[in-house]
């Protein structure tokens, strides 16, 4: 039983990180129907910003997190302006290829600066409590609590504020929204900023949980988060959160019950099977073509 609870805790930790990154994919898709494949690498840069803040500037956790979120949000906006905006009217394939290119650029740029893996200095004292054999660390609790808080904040913004309403309006009908006075460009920039900022936060939290980082770390995690977004229904905020936890659960349970080699096989198979039965994901809505 303690074994089960220990693994369940792993599920929540991994799931909340996946969910945070998946939000970035889903927000951009929701507003531009475009998949920002550079998002996994934004997450990686977020972890490196956290490293620089902690190791070079000696910042404690909260300022490091803020700095990383802010820097990545800015980077997200710059990428949108320079790389994606000129292609907004181009075929969608061009935008996706550009996104892949931006991702590779970020990866190799980091690689060119320094190919060496980095260790994140401990940003706070880690305490481990034992509850009847289950080891719970303060880091785990912090990661879970912060991710959940960020997710609820985002959910609130999208559903309860004017900004959120503007986002939903653009997502609904990008052609008509500007006629109603919605500043499309600005809202898209803010969406990228929020999505990327969450990626930066995820990078920081990931770096806390797995304190050795390298320029390739965003590739696999990015793909996994993308699967989470698709499983949950890409374009749906709550779907991305649910998808993240589902994928975390599938991965940990596979590794716990079967030989751990099957882990990726099963998570990618899950995506395929789910897409057969629910092509729009769990909370996704089928698109109707307007004539």
């Amino acid at each position: 039983m303690t074994y089960f609870f220990q693994q369940a805790l792993n599920v929540i930790q991994l799931g909340s990180i996946y969910a945070l990154i998946a939000l970035g994919y889903t927000m951009v898709y929701g507003i531009l129907t475009m998949i920002n494949f550079a998002h996994g690498d934004l997450f990686m840069v977020g972890a490196f910003v956290c490293f620089m803040a902690a190791a070079w500037l000696g910042l404690p956790f909260v300022p490091a997190l803020m700095l990383s979120m802010f820097a990545i949000a800015l980077l997200g906006v710059v990428i949108e302006r320079l790389a994606y905006k000129p292609l907004r009217q181009a075929p969608r394939v061009s935008a996706i290829i550009t996104a892949l290119g931006v991702g590779l650029f970020l990866e190799n740029f980091t690689l060119a600066l320094s190919p060496y893996p980095k260790q994140i200095p401990p940003l706070m004292a880690n305490q481990v409590w034992h509850f009847g054999g289950v080891a719970v660390s303060s880091l785990q609790l912090l990661i879970i609590a912060l991710s959940l808080a960020l997710m609820f904040m985002l959910d609130f913004i999208v559903r309860r504020t004017m900004l959120g309403m503007a986002m939903r309006a653009i997502s609904c009908d990008r052609a008509t929204a500007p006629l109603m006075g919605v500043p499309v460009d600005r809202v898209i920039s803010i969406t990228f900023a929020i999505g990327a900022g969450l990626g930066g936060a995820a990078g920081t939290l990931y770096a806390l949980a797995y304190p050795v980082i390298d320029p390739y770390m965003g590739v696999m995690v990015g793909w996994k988060a993308f699967i989470s977004a698709v499983v949950g229904g890409i374009g749906s905020i709550r779907g991305a959160m649910i998808g993240g936890f589902i994928l975390g659960a599938v991965e940990i349970m596979t590794a716990a019950l079967l030989p751990s080699t099957y882990r990726d096989l099963i998570s990618f198979a899950l995506l395929l099977v789910l897409l057969i039965f629910r092509p729009y994901g769990i909370l996704g809505k089928p698109h109707t073509q307007k004539v």
Partner: protein, 389 residues
Amino acid sequence: MSGSLMGSAIAGIAALMLFGCASQGGGDKILVGVIAELTGDIPAVGASCKNAAELAVKEINDSGGINAGGRKYPIKLFIEDTTGKTEQSVSAVHRLIMEDDVVAIVGPNASRYAVPASEVAEGAKVLMITPWCTNPKATIDVKTGQPKKYVFRACFEDMFQGRLVAKFALDNLKKKTAAVLYDVASEYNKGQAEYFKKTYEENGGKIVAFETYTANNNDYSAQLVKIKDANPEVIFLPNYYTEVPLQIQLAKRLGITAPFLGSDTWGSSDLLKLCGDDCEGYFFSTHYAADMATTAAKSFINSYTAKYGNPPDDVAALTYDTFGLLTQALQKAGKIDRQAVRDAMAKITDYQGVTGNMQFKEGSGDPIKSAVIVQIKDGKFSFYAFAHP
């Protein structure tokens, strides 16, 4: 008529390109290729290899060059990068052999690049010496089970090492149950894990958990909880220095208290940087330790430290030895010819290097040499014991 002439001319050129002729000296220089992991997932390995190679060549050239057949030739290096990709390391071998016309190749170091590269070198009949690749498949042809004729290494091989670590865990540490966590997609890690398991079980030990992961999956939590549940007395991590610190730190966070044990992939000074205090007291098997060094080795260690600012790790020491072996082979061969150098290499019976004495026997590319057990003490690698074959 002219068609067949053309044909034979092309065939002749092709043969020249493939096997070169007797002139792999580039005239008055000895051309040597180096393939190192400069970028990619283990950049510290490539950097050490390149540094040691450049130092060795500088020393040789400063002394006037290698004496082969009564004339001294300086060495010219061609350095290629594996970029962390198998296909890149294979094309690097092609490039060195066909375009740069080298007489011998040093590297690659990691098994996943060295094994495919060795196939190309063997096919082209060019001497390749890998400093650090311990996988048996580098020097053995998998299809025929016969040893390769043109591929040598400067280190011991996996089977020897896996056996050694298993025995050390049982006999010296007196640990009767063990767990293993390894990267199933990497040749080296998989080989080590399997030889360890075999020897450990044959000698009365019990493997209570045998867990795997694949590279780029940094979440080891599920596997570690499984290992914790199996409650082993010792945990063997035959993984690269970039992953080991993370694995140990996560394990400690989950409340695992059993000591860890490693293999030669731990021996990079980057491990100490990435680990902090978390690796204190653990043992691993490797090729050499800086504090057991002989007088010959001391001068290498001093000049390396003076030039690069940090003491040489095992890759650097082995690369330096590889150049020592190559020098001896060239001197013995007496001419700069691929076949003659290979034949002389196979006949080296006594080479005293930084990493100990080596001896080769015709019919095997593996040297006969001993290994070292190192303990991490006060944030440094310190010599613990010798382990003989």
